[in-house]
């Protein structure tokens, strides 16, 4: 699918939000929800950066690092993939302080969600690297490149193309996962919605706006990733 239909969907979502925001049943909720959406976006962006860094580190460590580091990477992936993000959030926020380590809610949110998504991402990285033909390694060796140079200059740039679509999925999972942070006192979009819902009982307008808000953000991610993919494919001299 091209970018155009997605851009149209994004435009329609924005138009719907704009139109509803002008409506008197909806207008009062807008300032609070926009503030909440800003928190959601901050957690998503910071979490995504951490997720990519953790995924590259763990994914490459599983493939190329010496045994102890490899095991560490496996432990990380299994620990964060095998337990729920909600439990991880609670554990970091409510249990860790019992051991004398207190981390603020925003940092906990970014750590838990970023590392959780990073664990899935590590497998994406590993799979994409393994999908690069062995011939490419040998061509690098025959040119006397070092292992590190082959990974960094030959294998990874090719693997990135295959990584982009699954990363698009993971970023959207991350965005939706941020709604969990309302349970550790952060005033994200979902938290604001629930708060206003309890005081005003205007469930219809509030959650319609929230629905469109999440859709707007996830479409933005999808379009961004699609553009990146197109660029990466062009970088291989193929037609996107």
């Amino acid at each position: 699918m091209g970018v155009t239909p997605l851009a149209i969907m994004l435009g329609l979502t924005a138009a719907a939000l704009w139109w509803l925001a002008g409506h008197e049943d909806y207008r009062p909720f807008m300032p609070g929800l926009v503030e909440g959406a800003a928190v959601t976006m901050r957690i998503t962006v910071a979490g995504a950066i951490l997720a990519v860094a953790a995924a590259l580190t763990a994914g490459l460590a599983r493939l190329y690092a010496p045994a102890p580091l490899r095991w560490l990477a496996v432990t990380y992936v299994e620990l964060f993939r095998g337990t729920s993000a909600l439990v991880q959030l609670f554990w970091l926020f409510f249990v860790l302080p019992q051991f004398g380590v207190t981390i603020d809610a925003f940092t906990v949110a970014v750590l838990a969600l970023g590392l959780n998504v990073g664990a899935y991402g590590a497998e994406v990285v590993r799979g994409a690297v393994l999908a690069v033909p062995l011939h490419q390694w040998e061509a690098g060796l025959a040119l006397n490149l070092s292992r590190r140079q082959i990974v960094a200059r030959i294998i990874l740039p090719q693997a990135v193309v295959a990584m982009i679509p699954p990363w698009g999925n993971l970023f959207i999972e991350l965005l939706k996962g941020t709604s969990l942070v309302s349970l550790i006192t952060l005033a994200d979009l979902t938290f604001r919605a629930q708060q206003m819902n309890q005081t005003t009982m205007q469930t219809g307008p509030i959650f319609t706006l929230v629905l469109l808000g999440y859709l707007f953000m996830s479409l933005t991610i999808t379009i961004g990733m699609r553009l990146m993919e197109r660029r990466a494919i062009r970088g291989l001299g193929r037609r996107a």
Binding site: H135, Q136, E138, A139, G140, L141, A142, L143, N144, L145, S146, Q149, R153, I154, P157, Q158, G235, L236, G237, R238
Partner: protein, 259 residues
């Protein structure tokens, strides 16, 4: 050092599991000599080149390049298995062109030719580009330097691969069935480049090929491999006009029949 052969295989054996691919093989290749290696598939031709490129280790025996061991190193009179630094130093003397080109798809023709010279030889970008431009000109692809591999024909890709290997200034060039994956109409352009390379440059060349016509006119010497051993070797003319071994004759007959 002068009397050392450029390449020496000494009693080299290579196994894949219980299958013996190369069986106690001995072969000397002189400086600037052009050797064609022929034989049925599975006779060990490609293994020979891969061991010399240090892509596969030998199971036993020794390989020397310019009299220096590739397969072990000597430290204070002791024989040690080669470490990475030793292998990389020896690899620098050898270049290889593969059957399936193996160009880097994310780099242009020029990018393919300057990556290793910059990273391994430490050339500046400008110096690497200057050298690569000469080489791409030599293989007739200067006008395609900004094309990606996917935008080039098989024959063009293989010529870029030759330029890329030469950019590392190897002393020995290995060609592993470099025309087998090509459309028939592009085989000629690649062979022409290899032929010119042999005529105009001081290079030791080992060519694994199924092109008997090319082997005859290009090579100084032809080696026929059978079951991991050199069954017959002779100057090219003698080899094709008067093969001594019954197996060689059968092989040449079969190849000739296939056209």
């Amino acid at each position: 050092m002068m009397q050392d052969p450029m390449v020496r295989f000494q009693n080299v054996t290579k196994r894949h599991g219980s299958h013996i691919v190369v069986d106690g093989l001995n072969l000397d290749v002189a400086r600037n000599e052009k050797v064609a290696i022929i034989g049925a598939s599975g006779s060990g031709k490609t293994s020979l080149l891969r061991m010399l490129m240090a892509l596969d280790p030998v199971d036993s025996g020794e390989i020397f390049i310019e009299g220096e061991p590739l397969t072990h190193m000597e430290r204070q009179g002791k024989r040690l298995p080669p470490d990475m630094a030793h292998i990389r130093r020896m690899r620098g003397k050898v270049g290889m062109v593969f059957q399936s080109f193996n160009l880097f798809p994310h780099l242009t023709a020029m990018g393919n030719c300057i990556e290793a010279p910059m990273r391994v030889l430490g050339l500046t970008r400008a110096a690497a580009i200057e050298r690569a431009t000469e080489l791409l000109e030599m293989v007739g692809l200067a006008s395609r330097k900004d094309y990606y591999p996917s935008q080039l024909s098989g024959g063009q890709q293989q010529r870029v691969a030759i330029a890329r290997a030469l950019a590392m200034r190897p002393k020995v060039m290995l060609f592993d069935e470099v025309t087998s994956a090509l459309d028939p109409e592009t085989v000629g352009e690649v062979l022409t480049v290899i032929r010119r390379l042999g005529e105009e440059h001081d290079l030791t060349m080992m060519v694994v090929t199924h092109q008997m016509g090319f082997a005859r006119e290009f090579a100084d010497r032809v080696c026929f491999l059978h079951q991991g051993r050199i069954c017959e070797e002779a100057p090219a003319r003698d080899f094709f006009h008067n093969p001594q071994n019954e197996r060689t004759r059968a092989f040449l007959r079969a190849v000739l029949e296939a056209g």
